[in-house]
Amino acid sequence: MVRAFVAGFAIAIIAPLVGIFLVTRRYSFMADTLAHVSLAGVAGASLLGLQPVLAALALSITTALTVEKLRSSGKVLGEAGLAIFLSGGLALASVLISASKGINLNLSSVLFGSIATVTPTDLKLILGLGLVVVITILLIYRQLFAISLDEELAIVSGLPVRRLNQVLVVLAAIIVSLSMRIVGILLVGALMVIPVIAAMQFKKSFLKTLIISVFISVFSVISGLFAAYYLGWASGGTITLIAILVFFLSSLLSLRSK
């Protein structure tokens, strides 16, 4: 239980840190796509006896870089590229799951999250890689903001936009792989996107929006984990429903303040 709370707290902080840059670049479905690919990674790990989080991480980083390469080449529109990998990830996962006949794989906990499945190895990975995400975002925050505002303007300003985009999608892949234990693969995208959209309702500066979204995310995860623990509900679904509730409350508050 303590492990789940520590892991949840760490994920709640890092998910909107990257999520805000995906949302403002209309790339919200990136997280969902990577989550579906991660499922294939987990299924493959179950079949081959590998560490599931690491297998999901390797597959989702490879996918993230491939999607970004396709998008930046202009050969496939961003969203269309995501659709191919989202379906492909799910298709591969279903084939691998059927091939492994469900050995070592609790499908419900992978899909919807379960606080009982966070292992000590998972916690070490979440804290270690979570720290990497926070430090990277602190280092390139201004540059990522400039790209979110307008990619062409950022290029003319002399920024290495292609490299920064690659770093962003790798960070997204890391968060998706780390979050799946807590919120589940089907709801990972929600944790990266909904707190950000809720914070955007207040129309503050980019930095304040980011800080508010982290608070909303932490509130949703901690209260969701409590509810899941005492009521026996799936943690991912509970956390997502609370985040959606906060979004509606934020919308109402922002309407009242106009």
Binding site: S148, L149, A154, S157, G158, K203
Partner: protein, 256 residues
């Protein structure tokens, strides 16, 4: 007599897209401190030419040099300020204050993880003061009018202290009073700061009145002329550009 440095040199530039020739053997030179208008019909290659100068598009044939540098190197040194057309009209989805937008124009001066020095902060403040956006620095960019938003993005372009300012149809969607203020700002930047300016506009009369010289582009460079020539030979130039009889209809920008 002082010989001015060449700011932009375009040599034998050709560009095709999907087997359609967009630019054909375009060559010209712009000296430091020149104020140049770029006019031509839709599809005449104006935006493509700007993208080649800024390096957003790589050249296929011919070359572009900015103060002797490739566009990529000039960008990294913060020498180019750019204001695209769509940014003024767009409903920007990114939450941002005016100050955050202007500050993002100064990033070529700091590396990854770097911090702004006093000189950087001063340049950002000066850019906001010159464009008169300092008074609403904490407002959200999406709450501004077209004219205000335009000034913010000019301030953003000025924050890197560029030697060249490039503007693509900047007065589209901006009211007459704001347009008049805008041209006055560009005049100041050109005359008092010696900035080289290239402006693409459909408002041929305004361009002819404001700039030192005009580049007339319709796939190839139809003519380059001083603004006095534009006044006297406007009919011939417009016919060559647009292919049929065109007349300038005069209007006044001060009827706000």
């Amino acid at each position: 007599m002082q010989i001015k440095e060449t700011a932009i040199k375009v040599e034998s530039l050709s560009f095709s897209y999907q087997n359609t020739r967009i630019l054909e053997n375009v060559s010209f030179e712009i000296k430091q401190g020149e104020y140049v208008g770029l006019i031509g019909p839709n599809g005449g290659g104006k935006t493509t030419l700007l993208k080649l100068i800024t390096g957003l598009t790589s050249s296929q044939k011919g070359k572009v040099r900015i103060h002797g540098l490739t566009p990529e190197k000039a960008r990294r040194k913060g020498k180019i300020g750019y204001v695209p057309q769509r940014i003024v009209q767009a409903n920007i989805q990114c939450p941002a204050t005016v100050e955050e937008v202007v500050t993002s124009g100064r990033l070529s001066n700091i590396g990854i993880g770097g911090h702004f020095r006093k000189s950087d902060l001063k340049a950002i403040e000066t850019a906001m003061l010159d464009t008169d956006v300092e008074k609403f620095r904490h407002r959200s960019i999406d709450d501004l009018s077209g004219g205000e938003k335009q000034r913010v993005f000019i301030a953003r372009a000025l924050a890197s202290e560029p030697s060249i300012l490039i503007l693509d149809e900047p007065t589209t969607g901006v009211d007459m009073k704001a347009t008049k203020n805008f041209y006055s700002l560009l005049k100041d930047l050109n005359q008092w700061h010696g900035m080289t300016i290239i402006i693409v506009s459909h408002d041929i009369e305004a361009v002819a009145k404001e700039v030192d010289s005009v580049l007339c582009l319709n796939r190839e460079l139809v003519s380059t002329c001083k603004h006095e020539d534009m006044k006297h030979n406007s009919k011939e130039i417009l016919n060559a550009l647009y292919g049929s009889d065109k007349t300038i209809i005069h209007h006044h920008h001060d009827h706000a």
